[in-house]
Symmetry: C2
Subunit: 315 residues, 2 copies
């Protein structure tokens, strides 16, 4: 029985942790597969398409990230159970990222940074948190944890999901029919949706134009986008066009249509765009490997798996 | 009975709110005092020294800010009760400022901003919150609220105060004897102390050199200073010297020895210093004026005042 690690980043780190945590485990790192018949488990992040189908005795796929869209895009993906990485470490990091960027834009830090660069000491009016309307697209494990952190500061929260959810203190909107109402009352939009056929490109110029339409209620210079979900949710060119047109005032982007973000992208140098390299919730190797070993043990014992991907829903 | 507003900023705004909230109130804005014998209450921020002693029937001084050091520096300060502004609005804003800047430095945003300016896509290892040791100097109303927000994210918290305090989940240190132990285990230092004879200049190079001495435990590139207290706590030149020497890695400064921060200060252009114009907790005029009117009503009714300044302690 062997564990294959097929990850576009940190593969050797994962392997070292796995060997440290279970010295008896046969750990292999792609592309050195050895005897493929011995591989029963795979810990993967962006594995080459077609790789997994070459493993005849595969019983479990563990995704390093919460987003499994790239995996599901593999037409030869074996039909074995696949689990997403979900744990307190990843959730905590996402909660930090969202709170950091909501606070940054609420407290008008892009403008204060520009003023500092010009050595200008100038007060800017900042709304109270309860005057700022934060809208979350996606209220899964990560979205809910982010919402609870934002509640601590007193933000006015609303959420939008495909199917209706109910969370304390959050005005919940659902489905296409209620999307416009949700957007019209949102000053800061947080995207934490899975990437599926229904959500690909949802963050486009038509959507941005609907944000915070009730201008008289808005207390910030303009709408803000925070995308900590998947790059495929957003149309990069539309983010720029909406920033130019004033439909968006600022953005924090951790994910992009193409990653790494190409050197030629104007997003790099926009003064009110914060670019981070897809590490909003970059977990340390230890909790990822620990999680994989736990799920492998469950498979061996015939126990139920947690956080299994629903292939029909796409996440 | 009249209310005098003597404030170096937003005086007319305060007056407009006071008149709106109590149309019968006689509101005056310094330097237009009118008949000084009629002035019983004063709402003040950095009033000219000696002004208050010219009011023979003054019964109450309300400070617009939480810090009253400038007021206590007035050798002619009348002996009437003086109250600090304390309310949920100010506390909430300070909690936001502290959480924002702790998250900013913990998530290595100064480095990510530099990488973005160079269009470099590069992962940086970020510690989990429970690996980051945040030390609060001052655990009053503002420090305690900031600590509770940081607890939500799971930071390892410790606090230092002149006299011992006890707060859930916070390792509490007290007095000069325990200051070094507190500093030696602090990665991110937050100053929220009142400015008194004992705290003036406490944020100096000797103190910075003691931060996070247990280098092997440190998970950040170096110690970070966040001063949201009073400018007089810090020696500006020492902040710079310690940044140069690597005793400090980065800083968020909302207050300075001289304000506005002089154009000539190198702090403006240091790549890892965030300058804000003393507005960490710049309350809106409405809650300040509402608070002042409430305290004035208490004086009239002979009821006890809240948040009275202890002149012996200096805050």
């Amino acid at each position: 029985m062997a564990l294959l690690i097929a990850s576009s980043s940190r593969a050797e780190e994962f392997a070292a942790f796995a060997r440290a945590l279970d010295p008896h485990l046969d750990v292999r790192v792609a592309p050195d597969l050895g005897n493929v018949a011995q591989i029963e488990h795979a810990l993967v992040w962006q594995p080459p398409k077609g790789l997994l189908k070459t493993l005849p005795n595969l019983r479990l796929i563990v995704s390093v990230g919460a987003g499994v869209d790239a995996l599901l895009d593999d037409p030869d993906l074996p039909g074995v159970p696949m689990v997403r990485f979900v744990d307190a470490d990843l959730t905590g990091r996402m909660r930090e990222y969202v709170a950091l960027h909501v606070l940054y834009h609420h407290r008008r830090m892009s403008e204060f940074r520009e003023l500092q660069a010009r050595k200008v000491w100038k007060y800017l009016a900042e709304p109270a948190a309860h005057e700022v309307r934060v809208g979350l697209m996606g209220l899964g494990v990560l979205g809910s944890a982010a919402a609870r952190a934002l509640q601590h500061f007193g933000y006015r929260l609303r959420g939008w999901t495909r199917s209706r959810k109910s969370l304390d203190g959050i005005a919940c909107y659902a489905g296409d029919a209620e999307l416009d109402a949700f957007l019209g009352e949102t000053d800061i939009l947080i995207a934490l949706l899975p990437l599926t056929g229904a959500t690909r490109g949802i963050l486009n110029r038509r959507l941005f134009a609907k944000l915070s339409r009730h201008g008289r209620d808005a207390r910030l210079p303009g709408p803000v986008l925070i995308n900590a979900g998947r790059g495929g949710l957003q149309v990069d060119a539309d983010v720029l066009a909406s920033l130019e047109a004033g439909e968006l005032y600022a953005a924090s982007l951790d994910v992009f249509e193409a990653e790494p973000l190409p050197h030629s992208s104007p997003l790099w140098s926009h003064p009110r765009v914060l670019v981070t390299p897809h590490n909003a919730a970059e977990s340390a190797p230890a909790p990822i490997v620990r999680y994989a070993l736990k799920q492998m043990a469950a498979v061996r014992r015939g126990e139920p798996l947690r956080n299994v991907v629903d292939r029909a829903q796409g996440y």
